[in-house]
């Protein structure tokens, strides 16, 4: 720690002040950028949601809570909320199970680890638009690999309202499972082999070893991964917009796609902002709930 000094009060506070000033100086550019382009817009969007704003026709006047009032009775909004919830729950559930399974399978890997991780991360690293186009082609009724492997049946994966959402979920799960898998894999690697050996000696192996050793140690990181993935799924836009455009007939229209259409298709900046604010609040609430859960888990552990 700090070596003993003689009279330091005045010297220390002078250094302190200089440090504080330097701190602000170093922090300022980042805060400026963030403040201007992330925080300010986050506040501005609330202001916009309380207005009727259609820039093309020069409309800009106060609306109060009119947009929010409309949303409560808007069937399209509730449909979008339902689609968002369904998409999020299904994606996150599938990713966790699949990701954990992958991590367990990878754990014992001796050779080719780098190749394995590379193959895994490929899906995650691709731009979501690339993934969307890729799956659009895979799902194509006559040219797609999926129907080809099914023996040539012309199933309309993206055009049938009953099939579109599951198809979308599958595409998103493919893209994001590697993230969960990687996190779990890293955690599994830190579990010492001795623990398993000791368990084997005690007569517990396989499923029991999993339940007693692996699961408690992996659960916290899985929860963190779920947090990230849930927030990402709630905010997801690219993949559903490019893959299905929210169709057919709104069966894959999430809140984000509805907001986008309101903003840039019908050019209602005020109304679209209201939907955006709803997404914002939803994401923040979910984040807060998750963090509380994680904290409680840590406190219990």
């Amino acid at each position: 720690m700090a070596s003993p000094r003689c009279d330091t009060s005045s010297r220390r506070s002078a250094a302190d002040v200089a440090d504080r000033r330097l701190g602000w100086l170093l922090l300022a550019p980042a805060l400026l950028l963030l403040g201007g382009l992330t925080v300010y817009p986050a506040i501005w969007v609330i202001w916009l949601s309380l207005q009727y704003r259609v820039p093309v026709f020069g409309i800009a006047r106060w609306a109060g809570a009119a947009h929010y009032a409309f949303l409560t009775v808007d069937s399209r909004f509730w449909n979008a909320a339902g689609v968002t919830a369904l998409f999020t729950v299904a994606s996150v559930a599938l990713e966790s199970i699949l990701g954990l399974a992958m991590a367990l399978a990878l754990r014992g890997q001796q050779r080719g680890r780098r190749v394995a991780v590379a193959l895994l991360l490929l899906a995650w690293a691709l731009p979501s638009v690339v993934t969307a186009k890729m799956f659009e082609w895979l799902y194509h009724p006559s040219g797609g690999l999926v129907n080809f492997l099914l023996g040539g049946r012309a199933v309309n994966w993206l055009g049938d309202p009953a099939l579109a959402l599951p198809s979308l979920v599958l595409a998103d799960v493919w893209r994001t499972t590697p993230f969960v898998a990687l996190l779990c894999y890293a955690r599994l690697l830190t579990i010492p082999a001795e623990l398993y050996e000791a368990a084997e000696v005690d007569g517990a192996a396989g499923v029991q070893a999993f339940a007693r050793i692996t699961w408690p140690l992996v659960r916290p990181i899985l929860l963190v991964a779920l947090l990230f993935r849930t927030l990402d799924a709630l905010r997801a836009f690219d993949i559903m917009f490019v893959l299905t455009g929210g169709g057919p007939a709104g069966s894959t229209e999430t809140l984000t796609v509805y907001a986008y259409r309101a903003l840039f298709q019908t050019l209602q900046i005020g109304f679209g902002s209201a939907i955006g604010v709803v997404v914002f609040v939803l994401v923040m609430l979910v984040a807060w709930a998750y963090l509380r859960l994680i904290n409680r888990q840590e406190a219990a552990a």
Partner: protein
Amino acid sequence: MRGGRLRDALVLAALALYAAPFFWQALTSVRPDAELLPLASLLPGRLTAVHYEVVLAKSLMPRALLNSLGVALISTALAVGLGALAGYALVRLPVPGRGPILLAMIAATAFPQIATVSPLYLLMRTLGLRDTWLALILANASFALPLVIWLLAGFIREIPRALEEAAATDGADRMATLYWVILPLVAPGAASAALLAFLFSWNEFLFAYSFTATEASRTVPVALALFPGVFEVPWGDIAAASLLASLPPVLIVVGFQRYLVRGLLAGALRE
């Protein structure tokens, strides 16, 4: 670990199968048009480079690749540059309120893009920045900044204070310490943060789609999403364009895997 080699090979095969959609797209990009619709066989009868020719010579992709590269590199540099300074300040300097500021950063990583896109659109419109690199650079850097700061703060915190104090007793002031001691040590972590920021910017779609109107200013994801098809959708060309769009991400995953993984894990494991 018995039966290790066979098991390892099986796992690798399974993962290769997992990545099959990408390989299928690569195959599609060299399959002649006549064999695309309807699909008759898994392997193409012959290979063709015509899709790549079309994409490179007649489409907007080359320009889009340049746009994406420029925007991604500059916004990454901006985010990491500002992020390193800010991270150091938050971790090592007695800035009042740094706890809440760091907390606010973490909260900012959860902001949905769809919420900030409308005010940003109006802002860019007012400032006349539509169709410019600057708009995307600022938006991307700002969006990546919270995560970058969070990562770098964590990495800097790991550097033993003793090193800084040694430099201080050697007569170096804060800035010099930052430059000569901290930055070289945090460089690998900064590389991880930079890779994540680059990937985010390269893949970013919503802002790029909303802030650009003309074809010449599109980035790769937008150009791919709006790939023109006069009568029919040119799946072969789109596949070729997709492969080109995937080059930097694939290079990063294959070549800089270690840094990427470190960045991903650090972001998630940091409590």
